[in-house]
């Protein structure tokens, strides 16, 4: 357990430096990068590692976001040093609700293959959105305002900023999501995921309960999507069903494919690129006067599929490239 803990402490320290040196806009973008990292890694578990193509990931994010926001109205946060614990609690609850939704969706649908599964998950994603749109208790189409978020607080002479709280919470889940998926993939349970992706019939012949395996992957993936939703809800302080449209599911798919199906480090890179790219292309909009960002973005996706279909990393992780490089040079 030592390494992840050290990584977490190191990353929180980095957040401390960011807190001192960057403005609120960059900080917000960074939080979105972290949320997308969780989203991409969790979808990668289902699509990249288990080979089940889902187009409804935004639906599970929405379930987690709304559940978590709703919960915070019942158990309001105490704006002191205990904030972190509250957010953790909201996130776990949001994740659990999303995981349950994943179970209910996954159980009947994971028998379907390929394109059919993609369409059904798309359908479920949309249905979750339409239900939220018609549920008055969570604001319906107007959305949900004033969701509790991190606040500044002082600890002796130290002021801990709301960014640092939000960042620490988000980075905690990024590390947790990474470690959980990384380690599961290196266990018998994870090898079952991989075998389902490779060949379901052979996996069954080896004694792998493929339906159960797929449902497990789906539930775990939905849980983390829900967690990502929870972080989003409490940092943005506002939720609207439109934030969880089909396009967000497609965004998640693009991140997974760009990074490489089956590569966690690829997902981290792709989430960073995909979140920052539209912001980085903003000056272009000022020069040309029209918003070409999404046009470029979609064109890049097509070219990526034709020219580099395995994404940036394929199924490899950064450290494997590193090892190869070291071996070659020594």
């Amino acid at each position: 357990m030592k390494k992840p803990l050290l990584a977490l402490i190191g990353l929180i320290f980095v957040g401390f430096l960011i807190d001192l040196s960057f403005d609120a806009f960059i900080q917000l973008t960074l939080i979105y990068v972290l949320i997308n990292m969780i989203l991409a890694m969790s979808l990668n578990l289902v699509s990249g590692f288990t080979g089940q193509f889902s187009l409804g990931h935004a639906g599970f994010m929405a379930a987690g976001a709304y559940a978590s926001a709703f919960l915070s109205t019942i158990f309001p946060m105490n704006p002191g040093p205990m904030q972190f614990v509250y957010f953790l609690f909201y996130a776990i609850a949001g994740g659990a609700v999303a995981g349950l939704a994943g179970y209910l969706v996954g159980l009947p649908t994971l028998r379907l293959r390929g394109d059919y599964l993609a369409i059904v998950t798309l359908g479920f994603g949309e249905i979750i959105r339409v239900i939220l749109l018609n549920t008055k208790t969570v604001g319906g189409a107007r959305g949900m305002y004033g969701i509790t978020g991190p606040t500044d607080f002082t600890l002796g002479s130290w002021t801990i900023s709301k960014f640092l709280i939000g960042y620490a919470h988000a980075i905690f889940w990024v590390v947790a999501c990474f470690v959980v998926i990384w380690r599961i993939i290196r266990s018998h349970h994870g090898r079952a995921f991989l075998s389902v992706r490779e060949d379901e019939i052979a996996a069954e012949a080896m004694g792998i309960h493929t339906t159960q395996t797929k449902v497990r992957a789906f539930v775990l993936s939905s849980f983390f999507a829900g967690v990502a939703g929870s972080i989003f809800a409490h940092y943005a302080n506002y939720l609207n069903p439109a934030s969880f449209s089909f396009n967000r599911s497609v965004d998640a798919v693009i991140m997974v494919v760009l990074g490489g199906m089956g590569s966690l480090s690829g997902s981290l890179m792709a989430a960073t690129i995909i979140t920052i790219l539209p912001e980085a292309l903003r000056p272009l909009q000022e020069i040309t006067g029209v918003d070409l960002r999404m046009v470029i973005y979609s064109l890049a996706l097509i070219l990526l599929m034709i020219l580099r279909p395995k994404g940036l990393m394929g199924t490899k992780e950064v450290n494997e490239f590193w090892r190869k490089y070291v071996r070659k040079t020594s």
């Binding site: 380690r183 079952a192 069954e204 012949a205 080896m206 004694g207 792998i208 497990r216």
Partner: protein
Amino acid sequence: MSAKLLEAKSITMQFGGLKAVDSLSFHINQGELVGLIGPNGAGKTTVFNMLTSVYKPTSGEVIFLSEPTVSLKPYQVARKGMTRTFQNIRLFKDLTVLENVLIGGTKDISYGFFSSILQTSKYFQQEKALKEKAIELLAIFGLEKKAHAPASALPYGEQRKLEIIRALATQPKLICLDEPAAGMNHQETHQLMETIAKIRKDFRLTVLLIEHDMKLVMGICERIIVLDHGVKIEEGSPQVIQSSPKVIEAYLGAEDIH
């Protein structure tokens, strides 16, 4: 007198109007090495698919270890102790040779989901034992040096061997081999047959072997079942089969005897 390990009771498989297998009955005794032969398209692989529950027979029953298995899922049949290889090779191509074998180790693993996340000592112990066992299995077929190569990088013959190793990793009582020597040259085939005879002894296995090349199975099988057009046309010792006019006719009608 040895006990019946597997019994097929008039199993039939119908695809649309075509009866791929027509009320076939046979049994396999504990420890036997039985050959299932027949010309191409005789329905041999369909029999395997029914035995391992990949297909549900249109009618008939399969009894394995004195229990009916038709309503079981393929993974349940595999866990009960019947496993198989595939004629068209279905390895986990993008995984390493070792990983392919490890996936068969469901019975050796009892640690749970959370143990693997927390990496408890139980996780480490079981993973270590499983890996050692997998390497031992690979060594029987001389593949231990290629443990970390991707399965798709192996030459054809070794891919077939890996399929057998992977099946052995599930600790089967009965192993069904679907044309394990297909695509191999004479010498490779000979070696493979010797290895099959050896593992059968070492692991106390019962083996059901599909082969459409008759001469191959004559050497090692104790009993042979001949299938043609989905129907059993002959059954008996290699000597009986070799001199059966029905078998010769079936083979000459379809192709030359190799």
